[in-house]
């Protein structure tokens, strides 16, 4: 197997997990920054439409690093999708595959099912719920909880903060309820 073939394969969890964990010390050491991504959404509000709301009334420019960081994530996405991805079909759990097929989702490729997440489906009830409502819940919930997977589950638990353990447990409960008990009804729409 040559190097390029090796890189274009999907990476196993025991390579990716530790690399993500290393973001915590790297950000602390290069600038005393606490790892967190959803705060970039708050800075966007503070920068673009603060509307005299106390919560957005702060000097967002002091948090510029966070915007540079998420810009990097976007660029990393562009780079990987164009140069580092193998074109092999994605291998998913057969049970999930069968379940999705029952809802007419048969094209299992890429990172998101095109039969749900595409401009074509945006204006359908399914599209509105999954793309628009889903995004809204992520933004509202992350800020209400005071952080997302990066800020709470990884940074918070790494620094042994019990409120973050509570938040991460609630993320999981919400996700389990949605995926198992609510999503089937949405997919059946």
């Amino acid at each position: 197997m040559n190097i390029l073939e090796f890189i274009t394969q999907p990476w196993p969890w025991y390579v990716a997990g530790p690399l993500i964990g290393l973001t915590v010390p790297v950000l602390l050491i290069i600038g005393n920054k606490s790892f967190g991504i959803s705060s970039s959404l708050r800075h966007t509000c503070a920068a673009c439409f603060p509307a005299n709301i106390k919560f957005f009334n702060y000097d967002w420019k002091k948090e510029k690093w966070n915007m540079f960081f998420v810009l990097g994530i976007l660029l990393g996405g562009i780079l990987t999708a164009n140069f580092l991805l193998s074109s092999d079909p994605i291998d998913i759990n057969p049970e999930l595959k069968a379940e999705l097929a029952a809802y007419g989702i048969t094209e299992i490729k890429g990172l998101v099912p095109e039969q749900l997440f595409s401009w074509e489906f945006l204006a359908t009830p399914k599209g509105l719920i999954m793309i628009v409502l889903g995004g809204f819940l992520v933004g509202f919930g992350a800020r209400y909880a005071g952080g997302c997977t990066s800020g709470h589950a990884i940074m918070g638990i790494s620094t042994l903060q019990w409120p973050s353990v509570v938040a991460a447990a609630c993320f999981m409960i919400g996700g389990i309820v949605m995926a198992n008990f609510v999503l089937p009804y949405i997919l059946a729409l």
């Binding site: 196993p12 969890w13 025991y14 990716a16 997990g17 530790p18 993500i20 915590v24 010390p25 602390l28 290069i30 600038g31 005393n32 606490s34 967190g36 991504i37 705060s39 959404l41 708050r42 509000c45 709301i53 702060y58 510029k64 966070n66 540079f68 960081f69 990097g72 994530i73 976007l74 660029l75 990393g76 996405g77 580092l84 991805l85 994605i90 998913i92 990172l111 719920i129 628009v132 889903g134 995004g135 819940l137 992520v138 933004g139 509202f140 992350a142 800020r143 209400y144 005071g146 952080g147 589950a153 990884i154 790494s158 409120p163 609630c170 919400g174 996700g175 949605m178 995926a179 198992n180």
Partner: protein, 166 residues
């Protein structure tokens, strides 16, 4: 006096979710921020290569159909925890020689209510905020709508923050 008041008000707003209250007093030129972009690029590559931003992997996680995501989050926490321990033990400083400061998160009911809402959204979009950026970059441009919607959600939270139980 005036400045102190403004400052303390700002501290209050910034401390609400403990973002950068440990902000460095050092002033840097803007291009110092490029190092964060480089970290972000590395992070985005890992996100996609390990399929963390895959809607299918998130569904498998919430249905207990695959160990993949649990392995990633678990080992990320372990490495993060170990690094923080080492930083504390050896009193490691930043590259500018500053003390590394970690601020405690304060518990409020938002972590429960907000956490549950976040979970519901995570299972729908298959992405938490970081992956949203990476998914757009990877070519799923419609996810830009999810991202704008997430910004809207953040704004609505800010607007009604005082009326919500905390």
């Amino acid at each position: 006096m005036q400045t102190t008041q403004v400052q303390s008000k700002e501290f209050e707003a910034r401390a609400l979710d403990s973002i950068c209250v440990n902000e460095s007093q050092l002033e840097h030129k803007w291009y110092h921020n490029i190092k964060y972009t480089l970290v972000g690029i590395a992070f985005g590559i890992v996100f996609i290569k390990a399929e963390i931003i895959s809607w299918y992997r998130i569904q498998e996680m919430f249905r207990f159909q695959s160990f993949h995501m649990y392995g990633i989050i678990g080992s990320a926490i372990l490495v993060g925890m170990l690094s923080v321990l080492l930083i504390k033990k050896f009193n490691i400083k930043t590259i500018y020689g500053e003390e590394i400061i970690l601020h405690p998160k304060v518990f409020n009911k938002g972590q429960i209510f907000g956490g549950l809402m976040f979970g519901l959204g995570w299972a729908l979009t298959g992405a938490c905020p970081g992956p949203l950026f990476a998914q757009i970059g990877s070519g799923a441009t419609v996810i830009a709508v999810s991202l704008l919607s997430a910004v809207a959600g953040t704004w609505v939270y800010g607007k009604f923050r005082d009326q919500l139980p905390h």
